[in-house]
Amino acid sequence: MAAANAPKTSWADDVDEFETPPKGEDYTDENGIRTTVEYTINDDGKKVKASLARRLENKITRKIKRVLQKAVVDHSVAERKTWAKFGLEKGSKPGPDRATTTVGENVYLKLSAGNKSSEPEQSAEQSVKASLAKAGAGKVVCRLCKGDHFTAKCPYKDSLSGLDGTDTPPAGGDDTGAPAESSAAAPASSIGGKYVPPSMRGGGRGPGESMGRPGGNRDDLPTLRVTNISEDTQENDLRDLFGVFGRVARVYVGRDRETGAGKGFAFVSFEEKSSAQKAMEKTHGRGYDNLILSVQWSQPREQR
């Protein structure tokens, strides 16, 4: 009989086979700890004993809690438990209805000191790098500057345009072959065969500059161009400075993409033209943070 069942490896398994699989145990001790023992059969045919000891946390616990509440809290809560259902629930049986009430996935609230908002989020690039490293693909190395980032993200992309120029040999060897070939094969356009997305063609508008700005086009609002501000001027500083003249709709501080330091200019949009005018008159030529501010009307993009 055991021979018929070919994959059997141990006589101990045969013995178990004759017994019906145990139903599992379930008992509750005097401390209210419920112990459940379950048996499952995994892929290897081996018995796995899963023992779960957990505190009673379903209906029964709730009943206990209710009793405690009644002792502490006033009658009104207990009385409200006996109210008849009404409205759309009229006539429904007691207990939560699954159509309206479900139990969600466990969520965790970990209370700890320190400001979470100041913690940087892991960027997509970092997570990709981490997963690459985990997969054993090695480190990400820039083909231009040999830095620890993707070539596309290289800060020296413009100055070291090695991949585009025909004179530069493919430095990285095997993996740079494809782009070098394609750039050589492509007709030498003015930008050197590099793919230019339609939005960037002819004029060099920033990507998505005209879209996605909450509050609509910045030309709609009376906007001042503030120049000669110090590097560490923040949006809030300018809001404070210009807020006294009227409601400031938006403040944009020009920043260096990599370092985040200010580039020394900003745009301040007011809701009303009169307050913008007043702000310009009052602040133009004024000293601010050791520098003399220069405040002008912002020119629309086309005219610059």
């Binding site: 207990g95 939560p96 609230l109 700890s112």
Partner: protein
């Protein structure tokens, strides 16, 4: 914590329909949870197991706001159908309704439950108005006066949230411009104001249990705690997302903030799904101490049970999530032995 998810079933669809929540409120004992949303029905749930006790049917448009009295006898609601209604909490019957020229955006009981303040919207040539009504608690509640005991029109930026201050003579209002004011309930005179309390619309206003201070949240990404008497800003909580609601956790030195990017800017901002968490901030130290994830859309409204053992959040996604705090919440000492008495 395992949250209990509450959602109203849609009779026409298999999946529950998505109606965004506008306000949720616990009663004084924290055993009942009232929710209202952009469909016209108000729901009441048992907070401990999420069982729906009933619904209050009668409104004909978005229900913007609800409030329940301290004895859980009367519920008052304001709706976009230009009515304010008084309900019997126990039976779900509409006892009385008041009709206005415009939508009712906010209602609130006073501490004695004998007055209700409401804000009606500024629209169609009508000024925004704050009215105070007397609630006759004798009899079955159907015998109410149609006429407000006082009414005034705040000039300037329109009022969006309101509540009775520490006395019944004063009404706190939060305005679209970010202003927070105290009005004399009788004369409508502006007694105190803080013009620059916020830089953008005030979205929520919740009072401490003793009404000595209150918290406001705003679209300008900050929440602030103000002293009721002087409107002095005591604490400021600066987040990175527009806030829709702020609540004070009784018994613990925390406040709860909810918000999230507007739908239009979600795709352009963060890879992390939308910042729709409920944030826990330390009330005194002004630091974020924890977050709870869950909603798929901005959190519109947050309420903490007056007992401090449970909180609920209602989102744009149409779900109410009721969280009963774990033991770890009560034991946690994020700042070591530095304990702050409430």
């Amino acid at each position: 914590m395992r949250p209990i998810l509450l959602q109203e079933p849609d009779p026409d669809h298999f999946a529950g329909h998505e109606r965004s929540l506008t306000q949720i409120k616990f009663n004084r004992e924290g055993d009942l949870l009232f929710t209202c949303s952009k469909d016209s029905i108000i729901n009441v749930w048992y907070a401990h197991n999420g069982e729906r006790l009933g619904t209050y049917d009668g409104h004909n448009g978005t229900v913007w706001t609800i409030d329940v009295d301290s004895s859980s006898r009367f519920l008052v609601s304001g709706s976009a159908d230009n009515t304010m209604r008084l309900w019997s909490v126990e039976t779900g019957k509409c006892l009385f309704f008041w009709e206005f020229p415009t939508a009712v955006k906010r209602v609130a009981f006073n501490e004695e439950d004998d007055q209700v303040v409401c804000i009606t919207e500024q629209r169609m040539g009508h000024q925004g108005a704050v009215r105070v009504f007397e609630i006759n608690r004798d009899g079955d509640g159907t015998n109410q006066s149609k006429e407000p005991i006082s009414m005034f029109n705040p000039v300037g930026s329109k009022a969006v949230v309101c509540a009775f201050a520490h006395t019944n003579d004063l009404i706190i209002t939060g305005h679209e411009s970010g202003k927070v004011s105290l009005f004399d309930a009788k004369s409508g005179e502006e007694v105190q104001l803080n013009e620059h309390a916020h830089r953008d619309t005030v979205t929520d206003l919740q009072l401490a249990p003793d009404r000595s201070y209150f918290i406001t949240s705003s679209k300008d990404k900050t929440a602030r705690i103000h002293e009721t008497r002087t409107l002095t800003v005591l604490k400021t909580f600066v987040t990175e997302t527009p806030l829709n609601s702020a609540a004070i956790a009784p018994g613990k030195p925390y406040i709860l903030l909810g918000g999230g990017q507007d739908a239009m800017s979600v795709t352009t901002t963060s890879l992390r799904q939308g910042k729709f968490e409920t944030r826990f901030w330390h009330k005194v130290l002004e630091e974020e101490v924890g977050r709870v994830k869950g909603h798929f859309g901005p959190v519109n409204t947050i309420a903490v049970s007056p007992k401090g053992d449970c909180y609920a959040s209602g989102g744009e996604d149409g779900f109410v999530r009721v969280h009963h705090f774990d033991e770890t919440y009560f034991r946690a000492k994020p700042y070591g032995d530095l304990e702050i008495e409430d």
